[in-house]
Every structure is written in structure tokens, then in C-alpha cells.
């Protein structure tokens, strides 16, 4: 592996700014790595080599001309295939959008480009972000670089796997119920779910509008903070976008947690949690204590209902958000042979274009919103949502942050949970409450269990995303260094079968 690839995004940015590295050099190194390992990993759905190298050269020229650019100018990045970016297809991992070329950019993609980041391609994901393993993608499997037979998490599995296999130093994903934190956890990288509304959703294909939020993936806390600072801020195109600004995030890295109270969520542990996950979590807590924090147990009784309520609210919104994929304006069209009615063509298209998990959630949501069931399902779930918010509010009066394992288990084998949706959903047990409340949360790598990474979740109040980084920087272990050079690592370089 090219040694340049081991540099952090921050280091790459400062070297480019100082003239000791060019964006073209690092971008080429990334593409070499992609070409060397992605046949095995399967992270990227499409690459944009020519345009990326031209963009890198343009950044180099501006720096050579003495221009002062931001800290990530010239740094390569991969984006989840959920973000509209003109010139590349946006499929959201679904066959129904095969080949769709968006005529506009999402706001966060524009912010990446304005900050001089170099987009190298788009990353695989569960179809319409529905899944915890990236196996529901309509296009390909993505493999966990720690063990190619294991899932990379999901839905942003491509983002996590590309980082863990050193293909790019940064990726951009989205999190609706854990879609950034859980893949980060099972691949040993950092993943942040920012405060809802702090990053624009404009141009981000909607899964569940009241829960979705774009967020950064990186190999360390500082890089993630830098990326979050690039994409965040008010956007008039998204009316749920917050006007309030976040506190300084990179400033928070290294400030430590001395004197803090860290609350362990009582409800997240015990049955169903792998012993290896629990012991790694306890070690991380001890590390926080050594850094001067006090560890207390906090009960958030309504968190137990979060998963159930989530599986009413999210599918309800999904059933409406995914209605527009009807073959009339874009995407594939099936069965339009001149003999069939519009309704038949819509049915055939949706039947052929959507996968099983997407259909399952559309059906669930359609049912939950139906006349006569609305109050019992959607209505009750909204009440649970309020109660979860109240649990958080009460907890944050006592502690600075709440913590838990990111996911009850480490990565599992590909295929293992595909026939058991409930087992799949449980991977998001600990991550869902923060989405339901709109708060900020993140996963940081803390150790290995049976050779697979374990993640540590930090949850903070809305607009207090800086606290995530203070804890994360204390905890983080250079886990990935231990992957390079192992037999698992060597397997990445094998010829594609």
C-alpha cells in the first residue's frame, strides 16, 4: 500500500496547503488503491476518475497560485450513492433508479466541492438506506475489510468499507436509525450522526424525512470534525434546516473529559449483547475514568420502546417518500407495451424495481397510516418519540453525554440475517433513540472482539455535537493500523474471483 494512504485527512490537507503534497498525487494513490482492493471489497458503485483528477489538478493550481483554501482542500472523498451529484448516476442502491442522472447537486455535495474536496466516486448502500448490512443493495455486496466473509454494516456500508480498506481518507454517509454509526462500529472507523437539521437534506434521497441526516465518516475524530464543519450550516432549500450554528467541532478534539459526568444507558446491555462487546465497552469506560470523567448509570426507560416506535414512524414516511418512484418521470419503466394501463405499469415497475426489504417497509408504513389504524400505530409511535425526547432531556440534566455500545454485536457473516428481518433490525437497537429525538451521536472504534471491531456510542444533546468529539478523541484507538499487514489485509489484494 502506498504510504500516503495512511495519512489522515487533516495531514493530507495541510501538506497540500504547504505544497509538500499535491492533490493529484493523493487522488491518484486513492484510485490505485481502489483498483487494487475494491474488486474484493465492493465499496464503490461508480468512479469518477477523470473529473476527480481534473478537480485535483485545479486545486493544485489554485494553491500554486498562492490561494488560501480550507483545511480539506484537495482531499479525496467518496460519497454514499444517496447524494445527488450531477455527472454521476444516483441510484440509492435501487434498481428502480438504475442510470438516473440527477440534474442538480445536493447542498452537502456543493459544500464539499466549494471546500475543494475531490469526489472520487459513489459508494454502495442498502437499497434506499434500508438495512444494516448493505446486503439489500440492488447492485452488489460490500465486504467487511476485517474479514471479507462478514458484513460491513449498513446502510452506509460502502462508506465504512472504503475507509477501512484505505481507499479514501473520508466518506460522507447518512444516518436514519444508525446507518452511519453501526457500519462505522463494525469496520473500526469513526462515524457521526450530527444533530438533525444541522446538515441540509436537500438533494439527499429521502428515506424517513424526520430522521435522516447526512454525516461524516473518517478514520479519526479530528478528520470527522473537519468534514462535519465543511458540510454543516443552514440551507434555505431545506426548511427543517436549523438556523443555529454548531459549536466548534475541531476545537473540541483534545479538550478531554476531565470533570465530566458520563452516563451509561442502563437499558443497553445484558441479554443479546455479546460478551466481547461488553468487555470492550467496559474497558473504554475505564479509559474515560482515567481521563477524569465520572461514570454513572442512567435509566432511560422509554428507550426500550424506541425500536418498535421507529418501525412505525420510519416505514410510514418511507411509504410516502417512495411513492414518487412510479416510472412516470425517471428511473426504469416496466411493462409499458402499449396494452397496459398506467396503474399496471406503475405496479409492474415498482414490483420489479424495489427489493424485498423496501417492499416490506412500504407495506408496513401503508398499513400504519391507514384510516382506522393511524392513531394506534403512527399516533402512538409519535407519543413514544416524545417520551424518548423527555428521557434524553432528563438524562442530560444529570450527565454531559450518554454512552452505550454502538451495536449489541460485532459484524456477522454475510447472509446470516437476511432471512430474519427482526435480527437485522436489532443491530440498530442502541442507535435509534438519538434519531427519534433529533440529537447528535457518534460511534468511535475502541477495540476488537474475536478479531472484529467494536464501536462505542456517544450521545449528546442537539447542537452539542462538540461533546461527541471530546469523548471520541479520548477513546480512540488506531485500530486500523492493526489490520494492515494481516492475512485479512492480504486477502483484499487478491484478484477478483
Amino acid at each position: 500500500m502506498n504510504e500516503l494512504l495512511k495519512l489522515s485527512a487533516a495531514e493530507i490537507g495541510s501538506k497540500i496547503a504547504a505544497g509538500s503534497l499535491t492533490s493529484v498525487e493523493i487522488t491518484k494513490a486513492c484510485f490505485e488503491q481502489i483498483h487494487a482492493v475494491d474488486a474484493q471489497v465492493g465499496a464503490f458503485l461508480c468512479l469518477d476518475e477523470e473529473r476527480a483528477l481534473a478537480a485535483a489538478a485545479a486545486i493544485d493550481a489554485r494553491i500554486a497560485a498562492g490561494e488560501k483554501l480550507g483545511p480539506l482542500a484537495g482531499v479525496p472523498i467518496g460519497v454514499k450513492d444517496i447524494f445527488c451529484y450531477q455527472g454521476l448516476p444516483t441510484t440509492c442502491g435501487s434498481r428502480i433508479l438504475e442510470g438516473w442522472m440527477p440534474p442538480y447537486n445536493s447542498t452537502v455535495v456543493d459544500r464539499l466541492l466549494e471546500a475543494g474536496l475531490v469526489i472520487v466516486g459513489k459508494l454502495n448502500m442498502d437499497e434506499f438506506a434500508m438495512g444494516s448490512s448493505t446486503e439489500t443493495s440492488g447492485y452488489q455486496l460490500t465486504h467487511n475489510p476485517w474479514n471479507l466473509g462478514y458484513i460491513p454494516g449498513g446502510s452506509s456500508g460502502g462508506c465504512a468499507a472504503a475507509l477501512a480498506s484505505y481507499q479514501v481518507p473520508l466518506t460522507l454517509g447518512t444516518d436514519t436509525g444508525g446507518s452511519i454509526r453501526q457500519p462505522a462500529s463494525v469496520t473500526g472507523v469513526v462515524g457521526v450522526k450530527p444533530t438533525y437539521g444541522s446538515n441540509s437534506r436537500y438533494g439527499v434521497l429521502a428515506m424517513a424525512s424526520s430522521l435522516d441526516v447526512p454525516g461524516p465518516f473518517a478514520r479519526n475524530a479530528r478528520d470527522a470534525a473537519l468534514l462535519q464543519e465543511v458540510i454543516s450550516g443552514h440551507d434555505p432549500m431545506d426548511s427543517t434546516s436549523l438556523v443555529s450554528e454548531l459549536p466548534g467541532l475541531t476545537d473540541a478534539v483534545g479538550k478531554g473529559v476531565d470533570g465530566w459526568k458520563i452516563g451509561v444507558v442502563k437499558e443497553f446491555g445484558g441479554d443479546g449483547y455479546q460478551p466481547g462487546v461488553e468487555s470492550a465497552f467496559k474497558e473504554a469506560l475505564a479509559k474515560c475514568e482515567r481521563a477524569g470523567a465520572e461514570i454513572v448509570e442512567v435509566s432511560c426507560p422509554h428507550f426500550d420502546y424506541a425500536l418498535a416506535a421507529y418501525y412505525l414512524i420510519m416505514p410510514s414516511e418511507v411509504s410516502s417518500n417512495l411513492a414518487r418512484y412510479d416510472s412516470v418521470r425517471y428511473g426504469i419503466r416496466v411493462g409499458d407495451d402499449g396494452t397496459r394501463s398506467m396503474e399496471e405499469v406503475m405496479n409492474l415497475t415498482r414490483g420489479a424495481g424495489f427489493g424485498e426489504e423496501v417492499k416490506r417497509r412500504i407495506i408496513l408504513g401503508t398499513y400504519a397510516l391507514s384510516a382506522g389504524y393511524y392513531d394506534a400505530y403512527y399516533g402512538s409511535a409519535q407519543k413514544v418519540r416524545t417520551l424518548i425526547q423527555q428521557d434524553f432531556d432528563a438524562a442530560f440534566e444529570k450527565v454531559d453525554v450518554l454512552v452505550s455500545p454502538t451495536s449489541p454485536t460485532v459484524a456477522w457473516k454475510l447472509g446470516e440475517r437476511m432471512d430474519d428481518p427482526l435480527a437485522m433490525y436489532k443491530a440498530d437497537l442502541c442507535t435509534i433513540p438519538s434519531n427519534m429525538a433529533g440529537n447528535s451521536a457518534a460511534s468511535f472504534p475502541i477495540g476488537l472482539s474475536d478479531g472484529l471491531p467494536v464501536g462505542f456510542q456517544v450521545m449528546a444533546p442537539a447542537l452539542a455535537d462538540d461533546r461527541l468529539y471530546r469523548v471520541g478523541a479520548v477513546l480512540e484507538e488506531p485500530l486500523l493500523d492493526s489490520l494492515v499487514g494481516t492475512s485479512a489485509w492480504d486477502a483484499l489484494y487478491e484478484e477478483a474471483k
Partner: protein
């Protein structure tokens, strides 16, 4: 055609209960949820963007001007204004609806609990208003080939220019106690609503362009009963006349059904141009729109200060304004009714504003201009002459430059697009001619009609008509008849 009983028979047995839903398009510069131009027509799919095309990833943001218009409408209809309300999604699949859901309002309307007083045959009826809420319009479908409907067409085209146009839906509560006057009350209500919307300047309220659309509900219940009957909803009621006609028809039809011991079927019916209603396509089951709060939009929470400000700046209510103008202009009730019937009130008011006397303004608008509008089959305000131009024309008459007869020719010219009244007078050479040319013409007429001259001299004054006629003829009408009479009398001394 269905079985009918006479209207009198129907309303003798049953009390009609009305319900009216009026949709009006707001004339904001931009659409409800995006920055696209909000205008009628245009090349198909040119006033569109990712938002109103419902492209993946796009998000709506609310047009504050549309909220303002909606609040003003609510206030003018004596409604309460919600201090906090949300949009809701109405989910259904149809290709004119780019997102396959409509952003509307459901159980939290912006405006609610109002009323509108209308007058029919000198009596006032209060129409209670349940709500006025905001929503977006759909695109426009054109079905090509086959039946001309979506089923059986060869193909269908869709134009999203109209998609996202802001709409206000104004829904009445059940209107009771109007008895046999129900159809007239309904018509008066829609007319009054139209006048209010127009006076607020929030909508173009052109029913023929569908910027004002009405669905008319009616049910019958036995007199004295308290239990509402089964209602039907008639759609496609797109003129004041058809509001009245469709309800009259439905009352007669439902009356026939009930009197023969049958049951009225709850259904949607469509008004047919030929004067009857037909059931719409029957659906196997009731549509379930699966409403839920629109998660892409934040709640609308108009401040009380803002609402008070809007309330204070409302224009004079149309009914009050009519009464005031009638008094100021010194018109009889009959004259006022003609003006309202011709939809000429605002035109006359603007003409008076521009300097013409009220009676003169009334004369032109109800006379020559009304005739030309009917000939061209256009609304009076689209006849091709502005109130300012009418005032200008009357000024020329007042100055003696034009006679009424010449003025009509000038109107013709203005309407034909030949320019302002002064320009038409100039181009067509229509000025009243006096001086030596008129003197010469009078002299020539006296000489050519010796018998008439004799008669006048003999005291038969009525013979002067022939002489005036001769002068006017030779002057091609460009003379003032009074002046001609005076000249002849002077000559005959």
C-alpha cells in the same frame, strides 16, 4: 338523464342542506413550495424545477407570500387564524401529482370557524365556514387518442407548469335553514367569495381558467328532521350559473329518488354542459389518503402581531363598498343591480376615479363596451379598453370634441387596438367639425331643401329634423347636432 320531480315538489317535501368547497389559485409571483414562476399557461414543463417536478432528494419550502394571502382570506371570511398548524401529506398515485402525494392541510387548517353573509332577494343569509386551508395544485394531463380519458387513451402527456401553484380550499359547514333558496344562496356565496378574493387582490378568480373551482354538495332531509341525508358532491361546477343549475338539478333528482322510496347513493357526480349531473367513475372502495403531518416542512406559526397587522390592512368588504358607491354615485337599486350583473362595478369605479362622471362611466360600460364584449365573447374587463381610456373618451365628449355618436366610433377604434381615444380621433379624423365648413354645409342644406325651409318659416318646427339630418349626412356625422340646430335657427332668423 335521471328521473326528476319538479323543484317545488322536491323542496316541499325536503329541506336541502348545502356544502360548498371552493378552490382558488393564488396569484403569487412564485409557486407554493419553490421559486418557479406561478403563471397560467406557458410552454409545457418550462416553469419547473427539481422541487415541483418532485425529483428524488428535492424538498419543499413554504412561500411566505402565500401564507400571507391565506391569512388575509381567512380574516376577510371572519375566520380564526391558527397560531400553530402543520401541512399534511395526502397520499395517492396519479401522474399529475409529481410526488404521488399532495402537500395539503388536514386536521390543522390555517383558518377556521368563519362565516360569510350573502344577500338573496333582499334577505341576508349567513353561510358558516368551517375552514380555509392551503395546498398545492397538480400538473395538467392531456390524454391523446382513444376516449380522451386516461383509461383507453393512446398515451397521456403531463405538463407540470401548474404543479405547485398555491391553492386555498374554502369549505363551508353544512348550510341549513336556506330552504328552497339553497341554489340561489350557493350562487350568491360563490359570487361573494369571488368578490372578496378579487378585492383582496390575492387571486385572478377567473372561473373559466379554473383559477376558481367549486364542488357543490347537497343532501335532502325531511322538513323538521335533524338527521342529515346522504349527500352527493358535484364536481366541475365552474361558473356561477352552473352552481345554481347543478344544485337545482341534484335537488330534483334526489327528491325523485327519495319520494319513490329509494336511497340516495353517496357519490361524486360531474356536471355536464347539457344541464345534468352524471355519476363519476365508481370506486370499489373509499379512497384512503393516509394523511400524516408533512415531515419536510416546519409548522406554520403566524405571530399575533402579524395577523393583527394583516387584519388592520384589509380592504373595505365588497358588500359595504357596493353600498357606499351606490350612495356616492346616486344610483337606484335597479341601476346598481345591472352594474353588478354586468360585472362592471370595479371598471366603473376605476373610470370615476380617473375623472369621469359616474353616470357617464356607467353608460359606456353597460352600453357600447358591454355590447362589444358580448360580441367578442370575452369578460368585460378584457374587452380592450381600460377605465382610464374610458375616462379620457368622456373628457373629449365633455369638451365638445366628440359627440356620443362619434364617441362610439372611437370606442370601436380603441377596442380594435388603434390606440388611445385621442389617437383614434386623430387617425380616423372623428373630431366634431365647426367653423366655416359647418357654415357652408348648413347653407348648402338650406338651399337644397327649400320646402323644409318654408315649413319652418311657417312655424312647423319639426321640419328642422330633415335639415339637421342633411347637414349631418354631408358632414359624415362629424358635427354636433345641437350646434347644427342652433346654426339653422340663426340663419332662418
Amino acid at each position: 338523464m335521471s328521473e326528476l320531480v319538479s323543484y317545488d315538489e322536491a323542496v316541499a317535501a325536503f329541506e336541502p342542506v348545502l356544502g360548498l368547497e371552493v378552490h382558488t389559485e393564488l396569484n403569487t409571483k412564485t409557486k407554493m413550495f419553490c421559486g418557479c414562476q406561478n403563471s397560467f399557461g406557458g410552454e409545457p414543463n418550462t416553469h419547473t424545477c427539481p422541487v415541483c417536478l418532485g425529483l428524488p432528494g428535492s424538498l419543499p419550502s413554504v412561500n411566505a407570500k402565500a401564507i400571507e394571502s391565506a391569512i388575509r382570506i381567512g380574516l376577510a371570511l371572519n375566520c380564526s387564524i391558527a397560531s400553530w398548524c402543520r401541512f399534511a401529506r395526502k397520499n395517492y398515485f396519479y401522474p399529475d401529482m409529481a410526488k404521488d402525494y399532495q402537500i395539503s392541510q388536514y386536521d390543522e387548517p390555517l383558518c377556521f370557524d368563519g362565516y360569510l353573509d350573502v344577500e338573496v332577494d333582499g334577505e341576508t343569509y349567513r353561510v358558516p365556514i368551517e375552514r380555509a386551508h392551503m395546498e398545492e395544485d397538480a400538473g395538467k394531463l392531456t390524454h391523446v387518442g382513444g376516449s380522451g380519458r386516461i383509461q383507453g387513451a393512446d398515451y397521456s402527456l403531463v405538463d407540470y407548469n401548474r404543479a405547485g401553484t398555491p391553492l386555498i380550499e374554502i369549505v363551508t359547514k353544512p348550510v341549513r335553514g336556506v330552504g328552497a333558496k339553497a341554489p340561489q344562496v350557493a350562487k350568491a356565496y360563490v359570487a361573494a367569495l369571488r368578490d372578496i378574493l378579487r378585492s383582496l387582490g390575492v387571486s385572478d378568480v377567473r372561473m373559466e381558467q379554473a383559477s376558481l373551482r367549486c364542488d357543490a354538495n347537497v343532501s335532502l332531509m325531511p322538513w323538521g328532521s335533524d338527521e342529515l341525508g346522504t349527500r352527493t358532491e358535484t364536481k366541475n361546477v365552474n361558473s356561477l350559473r352552473t352552481v345554481e343549475a347543478a344544485l337545482t338539478y341534484e335537488i330534483r333528482r334526489q327528491g325523485a329518488v327519495l319520494l319513490s322510496g329509494g336511497k340516495v347513493k353517496q357519490e361524486t357526480r360531474h356536471w355536464n354542459e347539457n344541464g345534468y349531473t352524471l355519476p363519476g367513475r365508481s370506486k370499489e372502495e373509499a379512497e384512503d389518503y393516509r394523511y400524516f403531518p408533512e415531515p419536510d416542512l416546519v409548522p406554520v406559526a403566524p405571530s399575533r402581531e402579524w395577523v393583527d397587522q394583516l387584519r388592520a390592512s384589509l380592504p373595505e368588504p365588497p358588500a359595504q363598498r357596493r353600498a357606499r358607491l351606490q350612495g356616492e354615485w346616486g344610483l337606484t337599486d335597479l341601476e346598481m343591480r345591472d352594474i353588478l350583473g354586468a360585472d362592471a362595478l370595479e371598471l366603473i369605479a376605476a373610470t370615476v376615479e380617473a375623472g369621469a362622471a359616474p353616470q357617464a362611466a356607467r353608460k359606456w360600460w353597460l352600453g357600447e363596451l358591454n355590447r362589444l364584449a358580448k360580441e367578442a365573447d370575452v369578460e368585460l374587463d378584457a374587452v380592450g379598453m381600460s377605465p382610464v381610456q374610458v375616462a379620457e373618451l368622456q373628457a373629449l365628449v365633455d369638451a365638445g370634441t366628440l359627440t356620443d355618436k362619434l364617441a362610439r366610433q372611437v370606442i370601436e377604434g380603441v377596442v380594435a387596438g388603434e390606440g388611445t381615444p385621442a389617437e383614434v380621433v386623430e387617425k380616423r379624423g372623428l373630431k366634431v367639425v365647426g367653423g366655416s365648413a359647418l357654415d357652408d354645409a348648413v347653407a348648402a342644406a338650406l338651399e337644397a331643401n327649400p320646402s323644409a325651409v318654408e315649413s319652418i318659416k311657417a312655424g312647423r318646427q319639426q321640419a328642422i329634423g330633415a335639415l339637421i339630418g342633411a347637414v349631418m349626412k354631408s358632414m359624415k356625422g362629424q358635427a354636433d347636432a345641437g350646434q347644427v340646430r342652433q346654426l339653422i335657427m340663426e340663419k332662418l332668423g
